[in-house]
Symmetry: C2
Subunit: 285 residues, 2 copies
């Protein structure tokens, strides 16, 4: 079985080929330009392989309501040419093999569940903290969605007492993404996160917002494990700060087991997206 994977992001599209074992055979990164030229480059990459199925982890929001006439279509996005683009339909037409689509973060979660930091649990939540904040849940091998995929990065979180920042989310201002994404850190402190290593207050605020969100997700979803990925999590010490605050906030109210196992780093270093897209297709073929 040979499976193609597409991880479609706002700046680049990663294409890969694998067989469902969790190993990648070939991989290429393509800059995200207009749909037409981008997808022609994608096709050129895959033309060397005789694929059985294609899995896609896409930036969102994307319509994942199977009852909808626009299933598999990109919804709102600042990239005008991709807005309302029928990504699934186009790929089905291009490849004439089964195509499975989910969000990028659901795909990442699925990869960690099958091959990475969630391999020993039945339910895990993957949170990415990068340019945006998003999360995906996998339960018993299935990615979770209601009417369509969740938008967990946009929940409101209690303001830190000493933080005057009003947030950068274009929709909500001070939602979690507005207060704790990479651009929020840059806007609040005037410098990108990787240049703020020696500023503990920056990470105190960051841990505050992420811990509150994690507590909410825990009370609503009660996952067995929470995996924290994305560029901002590259910041050393942030993970342990978050664990401390989550412990304090949960205060034993729900039994999450050992905190160091409950909240953890990803295991698949930046290959979650494509590995998850492969797992998505492999699980359906």
């Amino acid at each position: 079985m040979l499976i193609g994977a597409i991880e479609a992001g706002g700046t680049k599209i990663i294409c890969a080929v694998g067989d469902g074992s969790g190993e990648i055979r070939a991989k290429q990164s393509i800059p995200t330009r207009e749909p037409e030229e981008t997808l022609q480059e994608v096709k050129a990459f895959f033309s060397a392989y005789d694929l059985d199925a294609l899995g896609v982890g896409s930036f969102g929001p994307v319509d994942l309501n199977r009852d909808s006439g626009t299933y598999g279509t990109i919804l709102n996005t600042p990239k005008a040419a991709w807005k309302h683009f029928n990504l699934l339909g186009r790929l089905q037409a291009d490849y004439e093999i089964p195509v499975y689509i989910d969000t990028d973060v659901n795909a990442a979660c699925l990869a960690e569940y099958h091959h990475g930091a969630g391999i020993d649990v039945n339910s895990c939540l993957y949170i990415t903290v990068g340019t945006g904040i998003g999360a995906g849940l996998v339960q018993n091998g299935q990615t979770f969605q209601g009417k369509s995929h969740p938008e967990m990065g946009h929940i409101m979180v209690p303001k830190h007492g000493t933080d005057p920042f009003t947030g950068v989310c274009p929709y909500h201002g001070n939602c979690l993404e507005g207060m704790a994404s990479g651009p929020a850190i840059e806007e609040r402190h005037g410098r990108k996160g990787h240049l703020l290593d020696d500023h503990p207050y920056v990470w105190e605020l960051e841990a505050h917002y992420l811990a509150h969100a994690i507590v909410t997700y825990t009370l609503v979803l009660f996952p067995e494990r929470i995996i924290l990925g994305g560029g901002v999590m590259k910041q050393k010490l942030l993970l342990s700060l978050i664990r401390e605050k989550v412990s304090r906030l949960l205060n034993g109210y729900v039994d999450v087991g050992e905190m160091d196992k409950f909240i953890t780093a990803p295991a698949l270093d930046d290959e979650q997206g494509v590995k998850g897209a492969i797992a998505l297709a492999a699980g359906n073929v």
Copy 2:
């Protein structure tokens, strides 16, 4: 097929018998005393029927982690005699038929999903606003749980700007339950909710907290429908106040469809619990 149902609450236990069609054949309410005498009364009621299975919707928290050695056991509860009581084990021993257990609010949700206000959707969230606040989700006919059942009533919600109240939750103070349960209303305003009909500010606050929680649940779970039950929701106008605020807060960010259909009242008037317990067993037998 004859199914017994137990809705176990803190003040009363309702027993019923049905056949899975959604109709109840017999029903009895028994005050919740010590486990031993209470369960003997329950047994007396069921002794007239030749049951094929038993479904239980229980107050919580109850251990619903199937991998746990204490699956089906009541966890913390102010009712000392029920704390750590193995409810599932005891019922299995008493009846020697299959017994299925879930939370009271998951059972209520299942009943509304199969026979009530959620009959036309694939996923619905049932929220009860009463002495406590709890919620249960049903997706494609299954009640949702992670490691065990969620504790959605205890999420933090942004404080209303003019509300000095510090909340009544013994664990968290000002969580949703602490700020918006029936006892929270009584403690804040010095009178029970049904005596506060003509005090719009009371319901302004109440709608504020519930609307914020509903927005969080929507972003995390994206249910197709949200059903609001429990004693406090008997307050006229509260439902429409909540709808207004949720509309304003969501601001079109996720497409929940028509607000009057998205957030709605229960259809099964106080029989959700036992009907759901029957549906739980019927779906498994």
